[in-house]
Symmetry: C3
Subunit: 239 residues, 3 copies
């Protein structure tokens, strides 16, 4: 962050010319404090942050945070597969926008397609990828099929029986990414459903509690508070 | 899609350098399968897709999909009027963003303003444009007027008694576009209201069921599933 | 608006080449009518409009509307502090995007950092900034703390006990900005809470009623109608 060409430093200079305190908050509260808190690994924080940014179409933030994701322990192959997953939950155009930046970063770092997940992969067992498959499939059959057999087809056959079963990204990580997109998009209704699955796959309340602060800073406070409220009500119902 | 200058091919190459499987999904599932399914015409699919993209501010996707809309049977005059309609439902800035791209496409294709809907047009009869006008007006009077006479004025006098009555785009197509924007924006609360009107004007459950898969791919899965759920509950209430 | 280099005129020409009527609506309904209506000052309209644009990541609209905000009576120091506030409610990346444009406008107008709010400021009294602090803090403690002590920490210690108490922007203006972001993002659930606070600080129903039309034109009709409905129900509950 010390050469004049550094884009992050350049952005800090621009922000500082409008709001000096926002540079301080960014450095002290986000870079130094948030990303260093215990309770969630830097790698997981990268998954949450990238997912939030793609959900919000945050083009300006991609150069810095996609590099940071790779520097935080996310493998290129995992970041590739995360983009595939995000295309479904944040929409194709949002994912394509991030991939334009990521393509240049991969080229710069010498990442070639033979290091990335392929078109055909041996799928992991259904019960491992989607332990709640019976509940999931019957929810879709009851709620979606009556109005859209088409959406049921793509949801069951492509998104769940193929994408979620691809081995390039752990199901627990897919859950963390999906929760982040839904929360950051203000689509909190289905959070309890995805959170219940992610917990079966190893995500803890403590970890997602940390994730919510990333969603607040990068996706806006209202969405994060609403997500916390929905999850709190859902957890309360358990016990 | 075979010359090196082709922007779609260039984008495919970029996406393929990050996620080879996403190129396959785009070609096999979206281009070849989704757009060719029975149950909704390619022209209607273009209305749904463009509306979803504008709702999501998907700048990157405009060059390809606005061309595709014209190649799918949507007249330049209809696409012009669709932009006017979308300005209201997706917000002025989102529509202006798409129109910057569309302006260049019109210029390239030799579309001039005399082929487009004019400033003043003979409006179609109110009962044809808004068959549920009595319900609509009383909803606004009860819900909006007490807190915002200003919003009631622009809604009644401009949006409904003028824009919806302009002849450049059929009321049924305005309904399909509005439903797409609301669903893709996660604003599903009013879907039953607009869907009920659109059905009176010829849109079928089967057709909108097909539309929901476009909303899923281009606008994200969560929004499409939520929209399906809201419509399913609403249709169930009927019978 | 008469030189060929004028970017607003250039944009009008582009829009007019796609939809002539949208140029007419923009001039007659937005520029001439909406911005000149009684019931809300042009300065407050600028706060609502900028907040809506940042909530929606409306890059294309920043050059025109950030200039207009300064020309409508918003001080550079207030606009600076508004950006800081919006970073929290619309997310860091959306605010950074607007600040890139605002930085150039400040440079052109000769606004230097000594005219802007500093990093450390004498905070205004808590009861003045957040008259409903007891209710607010207990809501966060009950709803957020059980799932995210992290989000509670940043919400209480940074956002409320520091940002809302910074003197660069009046609490009532922070309220107006926050309401605009939440309404324009479709996050209407918390509107009654923020509206109740803003009313204690001087915002009237009439003023926010005017604001809702800006949210409709710049952020889309669905979000504005939904916000009106939520507020109407909430005001009705008061008796």
């Amino acid at each position: 962050m010390t050469t004049p060409q550094d884009p992050t430093l350049a952005l800090f200079n621009i922000v500082g010319s409008v709001s000096p305190v926002l540079v301080t908050y960014t450095q002290d509260k986000i870079v130094d404090e948030l990303w260093s808190r215990l309770g969630l690994s830097r790698r997981d924080r990268a998954i949450v942050t990238v997912s939030t940014l793609v959900a919000r179409n945050a083009q300006l933030a991609y150069p810095h945070y996609l590099e940071k994701a790779l520097d935080s322990g996310l493998e290129p192959s995992e970041l590739s597969e995360l983009m595939t997953h995000l295309a479904f939950y944040a929409g194709w155009p949002n994912a394509f926008g991030a991939m334009a930046t990521l393509s240049a970063i991969f080229a710069k770092r010498g990442v070639t397609t033979d290091q990335l997940p392929g078109v055909s992969e041996d799928l992991i067992p259904l019960e491992e990828a989607i332990p709640d498959e019976a509940i999931r499939a019957s929810f879709i059959a009851e709620t979606v099929t009556p109005v859209s057999p088409s959406l049921q087809h793509f949801t069951d056959d492509l998104l769940y029986h193929e994408v979620w079963r691809r081995p390039g990204l752990a199901p627990r990580d897919r859950g963390l990414a999906t929760l982040s997109v839904l929360a950051a998009s203000g689509q909190s209704d289905f959070l309890p459903f995805y959170f219940s699955r992610a917990r079966q796959q190893g995500l803890t309340v403590e970890q997602f509690g940390e994730a919510l602060s990333h969603i607040a800073f990068y996706g806006g406070w209202g969405a994060a508070i609403r997500a916390a409220g929905v999850l709190k009500t859902s957890l309360q119902g358990e016990g």
